[in-house]
Amino acid sequence: MTDIELAKKIEDKDPEAFRLFFEENKLKIANLCYGMVHNRDVAEDLVQDIFVEVYCSIKYFKGKSKLSTWLYRIALNKTISYLRKEKVRSFLTPLSNVKTGIASNERQDLSIEEEEKIDLLHKIIDTLSSKQKQAITLFIYDELPQKEIAEIMNCSVASVEVLIHRAKKTIKKKAEKIYGNTIE
């Protein structure tokens, strides 16, 4: 089934087509959101909102890009807008700015040392510029090729390459500064 056919079926309110589309993409979108917000509960809420938005605006999909690229764009915009709102909220109510995602982020397959390193990486990733953060998240968490990242971010492949390179360099440098050695 082509992307346009699938989109048409979703537009025609075919529940099976929408379920198929959701099952195919849920983990990719969940990882994108998680890579940006670093909180599993928030990421799951965002995934829900993103698929609701996709369902409501599927009529605007014209097939100029892949359906997955279009979905990633919506996901990225939604996540960025969430982060923006969160920034304003934490500025207005600094006392309530307590990380509530710790419990939900418990990973049983990781050692304590690995968890600490991952938390540190999250903090460093948060210090990156918005574009670098988007590029590195799509590259590492979603394992997308640079060409697709460029399409999603609406920039050239060379720019994506530079963004990823710089992000990696910054992460390495900051991790070295904190731990005294690199995070491999």
Binding site: L27, A30, D49, Y55, C56
Partner: protein, 103 residues
């Protein structure tokens, strides 16, 4: 770093997520209002806000506007009294000389 972040990736999501999405879509359909209502609402809120700012601006520019108006009204009434030569009628209340002096 990549290895570590790969381990951090989400491998499964809430199994009831799709049902939640469907119920959210249903909710959206129920509470959604037509576009023209949204536009009218936004325009009226915007206009009210502009009016509020305009009122505040005029209040700050002319804080004693009411006093000025009162003084003007009093002057008009006084001038009219003088023009109509009815100043003598007030002589029972004030001395005529005093009233003429103030003229």
């Amino acid at each position: 770093m990549e290895t570590l972040l790969n381990k951090d990736r989400i491998k499964e999501v809430n199994p009831y997520m799709f049902e939640k999405i469907l119920s959210k879509i249903e909710d959206n359909k129920r509470v959604s209002m037509p576009l023209w209502v949204k536009i009218t609402l936004k325009t009226s809120i915007g206009l009210s806000f502009l009016l509020m700012i305009f009122n505040l601006y005029t209040f700050l520019i002319y804080p004693n506007r009411e006093n000025i108006n009162k003084e003007l009204e009093q002057e008009i009434v006084y001038n009219k009294t003088i023009e109509e030569n009815s100043i003598d009628a007030l002589s029972s209340l004030y001395p005529v000389e005093f009233l003429k002096q103030t003229k």
